[in-house]
Amino acid sequence: MKYLPLAWAGIWRKRSRAVLLLLQIASAFLLFGLLQGLNSGIKQAIARAHVDRLYVGSSVSLGVPIPMGLLPQIRDVPGVKLVTPLIQFPSSYQKPSQAIPLNGVDPEAFFGIFPDYVVPPAQVRALKNDRSGIILGAIPARRYGLKIGDRLPLQTQQPKRDGSTAWSFNIVGIFDVPSQPNGAGAGIVNYDLLNEARLADRDTTLLFIALADSPEHAPAVSAAIDKAFANSSHETRTQSEGDLISSQIQRIADIDLIVGGIIGAVFFALLLATGALMMQSVRERVPELAVLKTFGFSDRLVMVLILLEAVLFCVFSAAIGLGLASIVLSLARTLIGITSMPINVIVSGLIYALVLAIAGSSVPAWRGLKLQVAEALAER
């Protein structure tokens, strides 16, 4: 420990060079932090998902409608507590940019399955009793100054049977999702209303969402649902919430591969940069190191000093980069829905920095170990 100040002083021996290398390392770790942060934020969302929520869709693909007629059979599968259909209509308020997606559901079952959607029970009952009611998300309600009792005119993208795309709803409730900053953007309406008015896909649903009676039973319940429809003309595939999210993400792109490739290139370049600069720095300080050895510093201690210097510097710079990444991620929180920088990204980033430092400084440190005092001083 007492050698820390010595190593620290060694780092700042050539101030401008150190600052530049620091910035180079910090920018690499900024990128690392952002990419890995995003990536593991997605994985966290998967891990946080509720395993007892089961999504029943067509075995062909999610998005291929399945008949409403399956509902009673799903409800009768042992272990299913609640089940709701879900259909989604993209829609907008006064301007096309003011999107308020509509979810057509069975209100009581839906809010029972999603207790994180906070709404007074009386409002759910009101929606059940008012066919053209809507429980609006808190975000659009706040943004457009809408409150309970207002009429809400909306334009949907899917035409009604009469060809029009204009709808009007009574706002009977407002829900909020405290656990997700931008979760409360949609409007919840009665499935029956949307279904009866729409032109295409009548009496079908995009998927059913079922709640299993316990997380432990969920896999068995999920298998039982699919078994009930096996070899029927409407085979289903039931996924837990986590499976659903990960398969949706996988569809978008192979994020792991892209992130891995970028980070690989960044660190390769960085390894060379730190290595070369450490070499240069040790070369310039050969006489100083020789003097240390003359004072009685052992060969090994000189080597450790060089390593320590590299480790201190790399970890310090990496911490700056990772810190910046956390700030950027938390600023972009509302955009990407990740609450904070996952701690494992910070830890793995610092470990990478450590490995980088040791790999980059191993050659210079070896030189320090082998340094012959007489020769080194003779060069002077």
């Binding site: 062909v60 291929v64 290139a265």
Partner: protein, 388 residues
């Protein structure tokens, strides 16, 4: 003239000394290569996705979807609407009077990639008019699907990327067995991302009664106004008429701008890192020649050529990185097939991307050279000469 001569002399001296700074020069080269390589690779994805931006779309083809739908999946086109479209003015007709109208219906289908991951492709049912409108789509292996039968043709990229997509393989969807009978190529739009089949077969297998979109070939691009007015003023139908290029922009514009953003964001952060590397290398170059530069200043060389020579050195140092980076991206990725959100395209490293990489490398060299150049020109002659 002296300015030029002095610049050349100074640049030469700087370049000769690169050999003495092999380490840091090499590092600069590698940082620039890495930054440019990643930027080019990411842009190659966008370049591949550019087939969706509509710029090359045929101007005589229009898309018809239901009013209010922002993209094809939300659209509904009934058979009644289709017959109104088919009889609208401006639609091209074959000698025997058949309209050039291809109606289609889409089904998203999960499929397993060769690497074991799940992806999705679209099974698209086309009405017989597709043979007229999309005459550029041709069968390169096997044969065409037959109307009314559960037969499909696949694109070459889909066959390459997914399991069980060869001719003779079967696809079981909702207890219906579909046979792959051929491989097609040559579609200029989203064609490579789909399985093609007959619309009636798809609609009966998936209990559908409506199409989702219609593609119409006009007599000429100038018939667009006539065709559009006839449909939009007809109270019996509620549709939106867009040129093919507009509809592709609407459908995929977001994707292309997202890919652009990711590529330039990552490329910028990496370039910033490379700038610091270049700064370090060039500071070292200037530092190593302090006395030399001071001597030159003392015998009458002016500051301008010194600045310019350092900047040139910086750009020459980073320029090979541009070619190397583009080359690495090309060697690793060019021609690879990727899919983003179920859309399949080939990564392409184009000459345009090489231009972009050269620009970035020059910018890195220029910024990396700027501060060292100023330091060199501002060296107090007396102190520098006295320094050891």
């Amino acid at each position: 003239m002296t300015f030029l001569k002095q610049t050349i002399a100074l640049t030469g001296a700087g370049l000769r000394s690169i050999g003495e700074r092999r380490g840091s020069s090499f590092v600069t080269l590698i940082s620039v290569t890495a930054a440019v390589g990643v930027l080019t690779s990411l842009l190659a994805i966008r370049e591949g996705a550019n087939i969706f931006n509509g710029d090359n779309a045929r101007s005589d083809v229009v898309d018809v979807i239901s009013r209010g739908a922002t993209s094809t999946p939300q659209s509904v086109v009934t058979r009644d609407t289709l017959s109104v479209i088919e009889s609208a003015p401006g639609v091209k007709r074959s000698p025997d009077g058949k309209p050039y109208v291809a109606a289609s219906t889409f089904v998203s289908v999960d499929a397993i990639k060769k690497n074991g991951k799940t992806g999705n492709v679209y099974l698209v049912g086309f009405s017989p008019g597709a043979a007229l409108v999309q005459s550029n789509v041709r069968i390169i292996e096997g044969r065409q699907y037959r109307p009314g039968l559960h037969e499909v043709t696949v694109s070459e990229p889909i066959r390459k990327m997914y399991r069980n997509m060869n001719i003779g393989d079967h696809l079981v969807l909702l207890r219906t067995e579909w046979t792959i009978v051929g491989v097609f190529a040559g579609n200029d739009s989203i064609g490579d991302s789909v399985l093609r089949a007959d619309a009636d077969a798809v609609m009966s297998a998936f209990n559908r009664t409506t199409f989702q979109a219609a593609q119409v070939q006009l007599e000429s691009p100038s018939a667009f106004g006539k065709f559009k007015d006839a449909l939009t003023s007809n109270p019996a139908v509620s549709v939106e008429v867009r040129t093919l290029s507009q509809s592709m922009k609407d459908n995929f514009g977001q994707l292309t701008s997202l890919l652009n953003f990711v590529a330039y964001f990552v490329g910028t952060v990496m370039a910033v890192g490379a700038v610091f590397g270049a700064l370090n290398s060039l500071y070292a170059s200037v530092d190593a020649r302090r006395r030399e530069i001071a001597t030159l200043r003392a015998i009458g060389f002016s500051g301008g050529p010194i600045v310019v020579s350092v900047l040139i050195e910086g750009m020459l140092l980073s320029l090979p990185g541009a070619f190397l980076g583009a080359l690495v991206a090309w060697a690793l990725f060019n021609g690879n097939v990727v899919d983003v959100s179920g859309l399949i395209f080939k990564l392409t490293v184009t000459p345009h991307l090489l231009q972009i990489s050269i620009l970035w490398a020059l910018a890195i060299g220029l910024i990396g050279g700027s501060f060292p150049a100023l330091r060199a020109s501002g060296l107090p002659v007396a102190t520098a000469l006295r320094a050891s």
